[in-house]
Amino acid sequence: MSVIDPRIHQALDGELASEAVPAELRRAVAQLVAAADLLAAPLPGPAASLESRVMAEIRRPAPSRARRVMGWLVTPRAIILRVRPAWSVAFAAVVAALTLFTTGHDGPELAEHEGIAQFVGRFPEAQSVHAVGTFNDWRPGSIALEDQDHDGVWRATVVLPAGTYEYMFVVDGERWVPDHLAERLVADDFGRENSIVIVRAAPR
């Protein structure tokens, strides 16, 4: 419940003309407008453009997948392990599924050095979810997750060459989010956080 006169909000939202604001409320409106103007003023100090920093980064050739994996393996780094209590059951299910798929006998036929990865994410409002990562050169579209029972939990099971991959989910084609159910989360070279999946070759 609002603790200030709703006409103040209406005035600030452009729903009430300024001349229609009662005199006793105009001071509050003016105070908030002045505060917003202060925050909107140009930041003090020299304006250091980010252009050279950003352009240098994007001109740098993207490392190959093998190089990225090797780089991750040999670079000392802090690893963030996160298991949220509410997700622990789902996490256990994913781990169990991965274990079954990579060691069981009922999975699909796999070539040598191939394994199965299962991606699971909960996105109740999403219209589409894709997995992107070092396994598909971060190109959305090739691995689409499905929510067949419309419960907001999206899944995909794919065959990948055995290896360690960084990945994220792309929700509705534009929102990139790490998978917090992943085995690990790692910061990449530019300070971002990617999820890690390890695909183990099925025993022959």
Binding site: I4, H9, S49, E51, V54, I58, G173, E174
Partner: protein, 182 residues
């Protein structure tokens, strides 16, 4: 740098996607000031804001093909920066939000009005930092960056009534601080 005469966003996006990497400079020059101000208000730290915005531009470049509406590049960029700011905030508690722009030091050349204005800015920045990240984000997008509620919904993925409620709560908190100070 001057970006007057630069092609519209949709054309710039098409150029970059066609392989003209340098055209992305138009995007940076056009939007970095607003995005830096937004990130600074969100994170309370100029350095953290520069990192977040730089990371966001690189992410935007790498995933430009996923920008479904190039003509609305601005809201897409704000969405990316919003998510980067949230990631930064998750890594530290809200209580730790630094206000690294030191309070202004009195200068003989400053007028009394300018000093009052500087004092008020410090007060407002602190009040903003005391808001929850959701309310801070809503207030800054609405009143500092001048986005409509419809644009804010695209940026945040939240419903308009939710955003209005957050803006209202933020205004109430700020107004209380301002009135207590008066």
């Amino acid at each position: 740098m001057d970006v007057r005469g630069a092609p519209p966003d949709a054309e710039v996006v098409a150029l970059v996607l066609a392989g003209d990497t340098e055209a992305f400079g138009f995007v940076i020059r056009r939007y970095e000031a607003g995005l830096l101000r937004f990130a600074t208000r969100m994170l309370g730290s100029r350095d953290a804001a520069q990192d977040a915005v730089a990371e966001s531009f690189v992410r935007a470049y790498r995933h430009l093909a996923t920008c479904r509406e190039p003509a609305r590049l601005r809201t897409w960029l704000y969405r990316i920066v919003t998510n980067r700011c949230k990631s930064h905030l998750v890594r530290r508690s809200v209580a730790d939000v630094p206000l690294d722009d030191a309070p202004p030091v009195a200068d003989p050349a400053d007028t009394e009005a300018a000093l009052e204005r500087a004092d008020l800015l410090v007060l407002v920045e602190q009040a903003l930092a005391d808001l929850s990240p959701d309310k801070r984000e809503a207030f800054v997008l609405k009143h500092v960056e001048g986005l409509s509620y419809e644009e804010m919904a695209v940026v945040t993925g939240e419903r308009i009534p939710t955003l209005k409620m957050r803006v209202h709560r933020a205004r109430e908190a700020l107004l209380k601080v301002l009135e207590d100070h008066a």
